[in-house]
Each structure stands twice: as structure tokens, then as C-alpha cells.
């Protein structure tokens, strides 16, 4: 039975359970007139029934679906002949893939031998058994749950409290998802990163000056070649982020100041949303813009000045990234500037300060912590930005501070290492996770500091 049909059946059982339980509660109360004897309204009894019918069944269904394939593969593998079973992990994975493909009638990478065919049949039969068992178990659970709730209907049953209790549980569960996400991120990158650091020493990764992952395809070269030194990547990331900040901070800050302190209302109401459009444009569009318009433009300008500019120059990527970050800086600065109390402005104006003196000597110093926090958030964003650099920055890990040369970044390397067809546990792939761990750690620190600074600043003026 297809999954969607099963879900539909469960939904039908849930609805049925709602109506049946509800009707029974009315009946127990002795008809619609006697509803007052019930502790809870009939609809709460209904909800109670629906929850009992739905929750356990869906829970089991979810677990079954997510764990099924692992179990089946284990079973199939244990049924394979010994010589296949004791292959290294990577090759075993290939075999399992072939069995899967064979089972679903796809093209396989090797000749079909009887062993494989048998395994594929085994796989198919296990899947069928599993699907049938799942259908039965889920449907039985749903009916059983509904029946339990139906049985429990009684005038003194506190159905409302129980429904609300379950609801509250669900609410709590939802709110903890954020924590699970963070844990998930940490664990998923950490595990693979640790495996990577078993092959490449941690300090070599952190302080190595050369990054040549493509060399390390052969297993015997791992680590020994020193090809996984991440310093050029940090340098490249920093260079591009620095250029981006050089563009975004002055423009963003000055436009925030101009719009909040100088501009007339019509200018403000029309210019602000237009600037904010920049924030809503997908990064892939900026990447396209950088690679197709800005980079050639910079190269041509450079050529006309007699400069040798790479067509994937850090300058182009940084410039476009800066444009992307302008609204980010300006809206954060705007918030912060508006939080400076009017009384401070009044004090400066009453002393005869000009607008710019008020801004520079009173508003900016007062808003500085908030602005610094905003800029830190912007830096974290620049470091983590992917598409612009993937499309406009280079792949070669040059260790240079020259913005006209091509550099690569951490995110570019993650993408190039993971997009494509390598097996999952080659050091190349694992290196991407190590870089991811690093990226996560750096941005986490930046974010926590920045959010803390901004919050402290807000509290100061609240």
C-alpha cells in the first residue's frame, strides 16, 4: 500500500474517532440537553479521541519509515555470501547500491550474477513484508487508540485538561526543535570532522599553508602531502569579506544616517524599500551579476589601466557581496540609531550643534555598540555567504592579499568538495565537513558576541 494511501486511511480513522468519541460523550451525558453534567465539552472528548487515534499511529509510522531501509539493508547484507560481506565499507556500499538498483529495475554498474539477483529478490521480499507489516501495525494502532479514548468517555473525565496537556507537550516539542537542530548541526559536522582529523592532523589543517585536496584522492597520499592546510582558504574568505565590509559598512551606515536624520519623509518612504529590495534578492542572482557583469567590467577597467586583473578577482566577488550586505548594515544601523533617545538629540541641538555634529558626536557614539554588533553580524554573513563566491571567486587556493587576484573561500571549497560524485568517506568529502565545522564555529562565536552586544545595547535605552 503506498504511503499516501496509508496516511489517508489514518486521517480517516482520526476523523472517525473524533465523531464517535464525541457522540458517545453526548450519549453519556444523556443527550444534548445534559451536556452540563460533563466536565468537558463534547468536542474536547472528540479531540481527545482524535489525538489517541492519530498520535501513536503517526509516531510509529514515522519511526518505521525512517528506520526501515537501514534494517532491510542490514538483513540483506547479512544474507550475502561471506566474500561480499567482508568487503571494505566503501565497496560494500557499492554492492548495496547495485542490489537496490537491481531491485527497483534500474541499470546496475556490474554484471548481474545469481548472488546479486538473489540478494535483490531478498531485498524486494523484505520490503514487501515490511510494507505490509507497517500497514497492519499502523492501522491497528490507530483503531486501538481510538477505541481506548472512546472507552474512556465519562462525565467526570477531564478531557479538556488532557487535550490541553497533550497540546502543550506538542508546543514544547516544537520549541525544542531549535535545540535539536543545533545539536544536529554540531553532531553531523563533528563526527565527519573527527574522522577527517584522524587522517589529517588538526594543527596541520589549521595552520597548513597549502590547500590541494584534488591531490589527495589516492589513499596513500592523505596527510603526507600536506594538501589540507586551510590557511589560504581563511585568507581568501577574510579578503573577500573585508572588501565586502569596505563597501557595505560606509554605504549602509551613511545611508541609514541620511535616511533617518536628514531625508524628508517622501524620500525616506520611497528610498528605504528600494534599498531593502537588495536584501530580498537571492544570492544566486548576485552571483550571476558578479560573474557576468562585474568581474568582466573590473577586468576591462584593470586592463585599460595596465593592471593584470584575474577574471575571478576577489575584488568582484567582494564588491558584489558588499552590495548584498548594504541593506543588512543599513537596517541594523537604522534600528540602532532610532533607539537613541530623542532627548539626546534635543540636548545637542539646544546647544547649537549642527546636524552632522549631533550625528557624529552624540548619536554615533551612543549607537556605537549597536552598530558594532550589527557589523559583526554582517561579517558573519559575509563569511558564510556561498553562492556569490561559488560563482564569482576562483577555485585555486592562492595565499595573497592582492584583491585583483583570484582567491578561494571556505564555502567555495565545501561546495566543490561535496558537489559531484565521490564516495562519502573519502578524505576530500570529510574535509568539507571539517571546513563546515570551522565555519559553524567561527560564525557561532561572531553571532553570539554580536547578539549579546546588540541586546545589551537595547536594554540600555529601554
Amino acid at each position: 500500500m503506498p504511503l499516501s494511501l496509508l496516511l489517508l486511511l489514518v486521517a480517516a480513522l482520526v476523523v472517525a474517532s473524533y465523531y464517535l468519541t464525541r457522540r458517545r460523550s453526548v450519549a453519556v451525558a444523556g443527550g444534548a440537553a445534559g451536556v452540563k453534567v460533563l466536565h468537558s465539552l463534547p468536542s474536547y472528548h472528540g479531540f481527545y479521541g482524535a489525538l489517541w487515534a492519530g498520535l501513536p499511529a503517526l509516531l510509529v509510522l514515522g519511526l518505521w519509515v525512517s528506520l526501515e531501509s537501514g534494517f532491510i539493508v542490514d538483513l540483506v547484507v547479512s544474507g550475502l555470501p561471506d566474500d561480499l560481506r567482508h568487503l571494505p565499507d566503501a565497496e560494500l556500499n557499492l554492492v548495496v547500491n547495485d542490489i537496490r538498483n537491481l531491485a527497483s529495475g534500474n541499470i546496475v554498474s556490474r554484471e548481474v550474477d545469481p548472488v546479486m539477483q538473489a540478494a535483490a529478490d531478498h531485498y524486494n521480499s523484505l520490503r514487501q513484508i515490511s510494507a505490509a507489516a507497517m500497514t497492519v501495525v499502523v492501522l491497528v494502532l490507530a483503531s486501538l487508540g481510538g477505541w481506548i479514548a472512546w472507552r474512556a468517555v465519562a462525565p467526570q473525565m477531564r478531557a479538556r485538561n488532557r487535550v490541553e496537556g497533550i497540546l502543550k507537550g506538542l508546543l514544547i516539542l516544537s520549541s525544542t526543535l531549535a535545540i535539536f537542530t543545533t545539536i544536529g548541526i554540531v553532531l553531523s559536522v563533528l563526527f565527519e570532522a573527527i574522522r577527517f582529523f584522524q587522517a589529517v592532523p588538526f594543527f596541520e589543517f589549521l595552520f597548513g599553508l597549502e590547500w590541494r585536496p584534488q591531490i589527495a584522492i589516492r589513499a596513500d597520499q592523505v596527510g603526507s602531502s600536506g594538501a589540507f592546510g586551510a590557511v589560504p582558504l581563511f585568507a581568501g574568505t577574510m579578503l573577500i569579506s573585508f572588501i565586502a565590509m569596505l563597501v557595505a559598512v560606509p554605504i549602509g551606515l551613511m545611508s541609514a544616517i541620511y535616511l533617518s536624520e536628514y531625508a524628508s519623509k517622501p524620500v525616506r518612504t520611497s528610498a528605504k524599500p528600494i534599498l531593502e529590495v537588495l536584501a530580498g534578492i537571492p544570492t544566486v542572482v548576485y552571483g550571476f551579476f558578479a560573474a557576468l557583469t562585474v568581474a568582466p567590467f573590473i577586468r576591462d577597467v584593470g586592463a585599460s589601466l595596465g593592471l593584470d586583473v584575474s577574471s575571478e578577482s576577489a575584488l568582484a566577488a567582494g564588491l558584489v557581496m558588499g552590495i548584498m550586505i548594504i541593506p543588512f548594515v543599513s537596517s541594523l544601523s537604522d534600528d540602532v540609531i532610532n533607539a537613541v533617545p530623542q532627548s539626546l538629540r534635543d540636548a545637542a541641538y539646544a546647544l547649537g550643534a549642527t546636524r552632522s555634529e549631533t550625528v557624529r558626536n552624540v548619536i554615533l557614539p551612543a549607537a556605537l555598540p549597536g552598530i558594532v554588533g550589527g557589523v559583526l553580524l554582517a561579517v558573519s554573513r559575509a563569511i558564510g555567504e556561498t553562492m556569490i563566491v561559488v560563482m564569482a571567486a576562483g577555485l585555486a587556493a592562492n595565499l595573497t592579499a592582492n584583491p585583483l587576484e583570484s582567491v578561494t573561500t571556505v564555502t567555495v571549497q565545501i561546495v566543490t568538495l561535496l558537489v559531484g560524485d565521490q564516495e562519502f568517506d573519502s578524505p576530500k568529502t570529510l574535509a568539507a565537513f571539517a571546513l563546515g565545522l570551522l565555519l559553524f564555529a567561527v560564525t557561532l562565536v561572531l553571532n553570539v558576541i554580536a547578539l549579546h552586544v546588540v541586546r545589551k545595547y537595547r536594554e540600555q535605552y529601554e
Binding site: 534635543d346 546647544l351 547649537g352
Partner: protein, 291 residues
Amino acid sequence: MANVIESTAVVDEKEPQTGSATHTRELGAGFETIGEVRAENPRMECTGVNVFYGDKHAIKEVSLDVGQNEVVAMIGPSGCGKSTFLRCLNRMNDTIEGCRVSGEIKLDGQDVYDKRLDVVPLRAQVGMVFQKPNPFPKSIYDNIAYGPRIHGLAANRAELDEIVETSLRKAGLWEEVKDRMDQPGTGLSGGQQQRLCIARTIAVSPEVILMDEPCSALDPIATAKVEELIDELRENYSIAIVTHSMQQAARVSQRTAYFHLGNLVEVGETTQIFTNPRHKLTEDYITGRFG
């Protein structure tokens, strides 16, 4: 007597007192202020001033002088426009969107609202102290030195030090803060902060000082100190003060002006206003029948 604290001048205008409805009829168009609006030796002369916030007519045809070496107190119920009027005198109303001012306000014979007039030197000449103390989040020294610095009043550090010390002495704060000049001004107590703000204002040597309920956020002891200070400042400056406290007006001012719903009802010697008010509204207000 109610000593209502107004949060800002704008809010002030939005909440007219309902208790005065019966008297409003007497203040029709063409109402004329009772008493002498002119001062003997005027620094600021206001004639027929009107203020609008958008459509709202906040000040109606007010004429009033601020004389040399005198303290003029402006009293009246909430929403009567006294703060708005005060903010006209150094054009602080410019910072409020949708505010229009008409009429004539002159400082030493020069029209303040003249298009060619520059507000920056105007505000250096007409200083202002606000309802809530608003020291800059900088050191005490920098708070006082800020005005002289931007206006270029001190040629060197020694001169600046001198200005700071004199201002603080005049504000009666010197003894309290001379050992902690580099600590933030926000760390002082409320009364000290307000005196700091006054010192900051007099550091630019203004000719007129406007005070918008300078004591409404202070406790009685701090209030007493500030009032004492105002009395001393009268020797060198002209002062216009808006206050909610009639006792304060009586204590610090030479002349008192009573505002009601945007009209200037009555002006006179402070003793005359408080002992022998000539208008019914003034009498009602000072005897505490409303307000």
C-alpha cells in the same frame, strides 16, 4: 495641587484638560491677553505667535517678552501650549515634523524665524534645559566641553578647562564632581544630572536660557538646589521657565504668564498674579479649582 509630569511637549498638546470646558467659551477668536506682555528691557519679544501641529492649532496669537535679567515663569494646565511656546523661542520645534510657526519672535531685535537666520548661532544664544536630564553618554568634562568645542569658544585646553570649571561652579556642581570629571555624566544622580545639563547650557554663554519643567523629574532637595541656581543665574542671564508647580513659579520668577488651551490668558508681576489674578481662569487655576 496636581503636579502632573508631562512626558513631551507633543503629548502635552494631545490631552486637553476636560475640566476647563466651561471656561473655553470666554477664549474666542480675538481674545486679548490681560496684563502687560512687554518687558522694560526686553531680550526676546514675541508678537502674535501661532503654532500648528498639522491641523491642530496649538498656540494662538501669543505675545510675550522675556526681559533682561528676569525670570519669566509660564504656568498653566497640561496641554495649554506653554512647552510648545518655549520651544519656539530657540526653534527646537524645527525638529518636530509637521510643526508650523507664524508670528514674530525677536532676539535683540532680530527675527528668529527669518529665513536667512541661522539656527546654530541662535541656539548658542538661546540655550535650553529639558524636562528630563539628558546628559550625553560621555564624561562629565566632555558633556560641558561639548558646546564650547563645537562653537570654537576655547583656543586651547587651558581655556576649555577654565570654561568647564566656571560653568560647573555657576551650576553649583563643581565641588561635587571636581574629582571625577572623567566619569560618565549618566552616573550622576538625577539632580546632579540636571545641574550638569544647566552647566552644559551656560558653558556656551547664552543670552537667554529656556527651561522646560527642569525640576519635574527631581526630588524636593534637588529641586531646591536647582531653584537656588536659577535665582543666581538671573544676574547674568534672561530665563524663561515652564513649570507645573505654582510654588516654584512664585519662588523663582519675577513675572508669570498663565497659558490656557493655547491662549496666553494673563501676564503680570508674579506677586500680582498669585495674590490678585485679574482673569477668572487664572484665579481658578491658582486657587486649585482645576489643573
